[in-house]
Subunit: 346 residues, 4 copies
């Protein structure tokens, strides 16, 4: 059994890690880290785990944790993982960081968008960007995986094949994304209260959201050119789910079949990416609770643009599910172990 | 592998059977019955099952189905199962009926509350009421199981130990129940439209809901006296979940500990019944997607009443999950096979 | 124009006072009190009031306010109004207190249920319980009105005629109430976050909620006997609305027509109480945004009980609307001025 | 008093007309048309109107209606108004058509996008497109007003000043819009059921939605060039509200202040258009129940694009409110009569 430690186990992403790992046949959680709830029963913080988890919450002692765990998940605020990691820890255990600390290769870009000093830039180069479908082989060999952001996972995978194949004009790419509220975390803030979110919708972080450079960097690798995009996130009154609607001009005349063939080229053997049938557009509910990305597209000959759409569960493929998928790769397990989660409808 | 046929596989309870059985290691679905969608791909009706279910919907041919399947689930409107079942079918296969046709032993009571003529009363006596925690041994030997209703499962299990032990005055029992909207089914009706249900709450079927005699009958068996209750269901703007709040006068002075001991006597070895810690009251979200019943109670010395509360996922323990639990018992499998579903939060 | 001051104008009830008074033709708000947002533009706290309210938030200076305002609404936490009010203030202005400070005549009961020392018990006797339909004449002459609680307004008005006429056995009265989340206020607390409330339902304050003694006191006056009840509130995933389902045994055989006549006796001339047609049960959505109480009942001959149901918008008839109705009475205005709010559907 | 007839009074837009006109001091409804509910009490269809509307529903007899009413609102499916209107009717009464029949000047475009034969093309030229802020003077003189669509009202007003002033490259305009579910109407269809919409989000009508040519036509007039856009609507789990997020490349370097000045040039005297303060982005909840359009924008120097955002209540400014605003203009009343609706929060 792989021994797993979680730092930040009482946030929503941490809770989802616990839910998923509870059903994982080759891993067991040995450390439920949670600074806010030290010594409290984990199941008293997440009552759904009553009689399923007996453990109590523990402090964020990464050095001690490194001795006990084969892998540490950090589901923590930006900056924390970078401030704790060091060579000794990495020599003892593997780390899958759900924060943004190691996602961006250019430390200056990170520091500018996150308005934080990076405390361990020496590990940025080594860290593997854990978008499994794209970097699978590198993930297998990694000590330190930067688990992608929720918006970014959805946004990148939706456009990736067309960026890679040079079908779309990257200068025209616009990503309009919509997210359920669990993406905002479990912090007690007025804007996240039920009555503020319910029956409401808004854009936020317009032209300034931190997932922007992450999407840009990855799509730059894919397309071989520097990509600068507009990315606009929106808050939607639902718990889970991200829908990305992406617009780009086509660089050449293509048919539905040609574009479909490109998507299939990259994804037809990917268990967790489902390119839907023609005319069926992704709905977040169809992937809820699962690790799937549902993708489809529509060519608009009137404007010569293609509209790409992708949907994920932000807590699964957008966070904990992908983290477990990375863990499976790092330990040579079946990539889908613990992730055979059937989407729940309704 | 147990071969499973489902009649009514495209209703919400049918869909949940498919979701659960997809993760069951000893059963496979061989027949996706759906009168409304014959020959259509099942996954086009429930897009969450895309790439998970390849089959097409088939007609409700129970005679043919009986030859192919080891067990048939009927997730159909009242009266259909009773109109189709016969001795030849029951000699070939087992039936788990999710409708009310075989739940009530007194056919006159059934016909009065359901306003239907019962087409096969000869099987009522044989049918086992499939509330596993109470009738486990009988279920194991049954050919025909009447799977309990959603409200009734929750209402009965919440009060059962106290009724059985004679702690509460059954003449004073009142059940005020609240349900998510999936209980209303997938039929296209104005009152179930999003805009009619959302931001709204109402009682319905006041003093006339069909689950009333079912609760009364089972609690009569438990208490050894004829039980007549008030049962009031309410529609709540959420997809899943039933919460039952039950009131009864205490027949004698009891302490928290004494009542807790009674609940433990009946439930401490029951995997799917969780009696919560003192002061923690059930929330539907804590059981969502799982087969759990969460129960707790509060004694009010001011009124000499006890308030009992129970929560289930109406589609799981209230329908498909319990049906699979019954199947597991009938086939001698681990009772929890396919039902190790961790509640999903948020 | 009546000059109005509001202490606590940035809570949800305070915000609703502002919304309603904006449409009132004989009142103007001169003081937007809000300790948390002093000097900030009111419209920056409630952006719906952009270009409608130009004022900034001010401190809770009741002495200064008493000089400037003809009436002060206190929409504040328990204890605050009692700690600020004094004879000098009451000689200068009228006060409508939306907190519980002056609702309960027995100070010991108040202090026990609220776990607070009452700072000005000398005004309790004078204070008028502002349930307009019941205490209209006293309200007209009052200096200090205790505006009823949200649950209590709904619970009392639903049962009042039957309690008054001795039709129901008060010892058997049970109130099972359900409320939208705005009743929990705008404080930043984890249990009120969107993801905690959405798709969830729970009971809370079981056998201990503070509105219990308030309901009991008023129904004691109505019935002429001491009333002790079970009152169970539930949290529902919607913004607004309270639904109370009430159960009581009938003291004598009555017909639908007889009970309807009793309700009509008390309510047929009441603009804001609507006794619905036979068989139509209250839904919270039908009163949303308005000052109405919708009421109906069902006699169950099987149990000899009557089930009474009432629905209000908790922020209107349950708080700000009733407060304005009280103001109108106190100043000799048309009782409905500013309250001709048509319920919004959907 | 202006005598008003409504054809289609029991749809959501029709119901909203009734709600608004109930508070209008110079209009009274004399005809509640509803083919589906003839002879039924209107208040039994919309129980919120209990005791407010005593009338019964009547047939769609436009000839009779024309004699009794000064103005007829047609809140009906596409094609109906065009099939009923004729010169005799228009000589007797005014018509405000909430369907799309007279919105598009080119009948071929209408017939192509709506897949319908237009039955009275002779009135298209005469009909005035009732976007009050843009066509106010023409509306005042009109007999026949084409009330704009919900998406279109929001999309056009959000971009109009910049299109008019030539600031944005119209060839780059993309409108990504999100709507609450009341826009889908009150028809009983499976995709609009509560459990299908709740906790879900999807795009629909991608590159094919019928509001596209309407937006294009109006923005063509504004910009003086032929406009072809991508318009993508999305369904959001909320009752009311449309949010449009619009993207366009800037044709020249402009500052925030310059763009703000352009918006102010067109809207600073418009009561129902609120250009928000810098950095405050529209939220649908802030306009709910009101006739406001809230607008703001953000310049992104990285991409040289501007992101424009607008929010309306689809049933008010997007349908019934704008229709009443048009009526007020046509009858020389205060444009805001009946429309001083304060947005309701929460």
């Amino acid at each position: 059994m792989i021994k797993v430690g979680i730092i930040g186990s009482t946030g929503y992403a941490g809770g989802e890690l616990v839910r998923i790992l509870t059903g994982h046949r080759e891993a067991e959680i040995v450390w439920y880290g949670s600074r806010s709830y030290i010594d409290q029963k984990y199941a008293s913080v997440y009552q759904n785990m009553f009689q399923l988890v007996d453990a109590r919450c523990m402090d964020d002692n990464m050095e001690e944790l490194a001795k006990q765990a084969d892998v540490i998940f950090t589901a923590t605020p930006q900056g924390l993982c970078a401030s704790l990691v060091n060579e000794e820890i990495l020599s003892q255990t593997k780390i899958i960081d759900l924060s943004a600390d190691f996602r961006i290769k250019d430390v200056a870009v990170y520091e500018k968008w996150y308005n934080l000093e990076h405390k361990s830039p020496q590990f940025i180069e080594e860290a593997v960007y854990g978008l499994c479908e794209i970097n699978r082989e590198d993930v297998k060999k990694a000590r330190l995986v930067a688990n992608p952001g929720c918006y970014t996972t959805c946004s990148i995978l939706t456009a990736y094949p067309l960026a890679k194949e040079g079908i779309i004009d990257m200068k025209t790419l616009i990503v309009d994304a919509k997210s359920g509220t669990s993406g905002a975390g479990r912090g007690a803030k007025v804007p996240n209260l039920y009555c503020e979110v319910n029956e409401n919708m808004k854009a936020y972080g317009v032209a300034s959201h931190r997932h922007t450079p992450e999407i840009e960097e990855q799509l730059s690798y894919a397309s071989g050119e520097e990509v600068v995009i507009n990315f606009t996130p929106h808050l939607v009154p639902m718990n889970r789910g991200i829908l990305a609607t992406e617009y780009a001009s086509l660089k050449k005349d293509v048919t539905y079949e040609e574009v479909k063939a490109i998507y299939d080229k990259y994804y037809k053997d990917e268990k967790f990416v489902r390119v839907l049938d023609e005319g069926v557009y992704p709905e977040t509910k169809w992937v809820e609770g699962s690790n799937y990305v549902d993708i489809n597209f529509k060519i608009d000959p009137r404007t010569n643009r293609i509209i790409m759409m992708g949907a994920i569960d932000n807590l699964v493929k957008g966070a904990a599910g992908q983290a477990v998928q990375n863990m499976n790769l790092m330990f040579g397990l079946d990539e889908a172990e613990g992730l055979n989660l059937v989407p729940m409808f309704p």
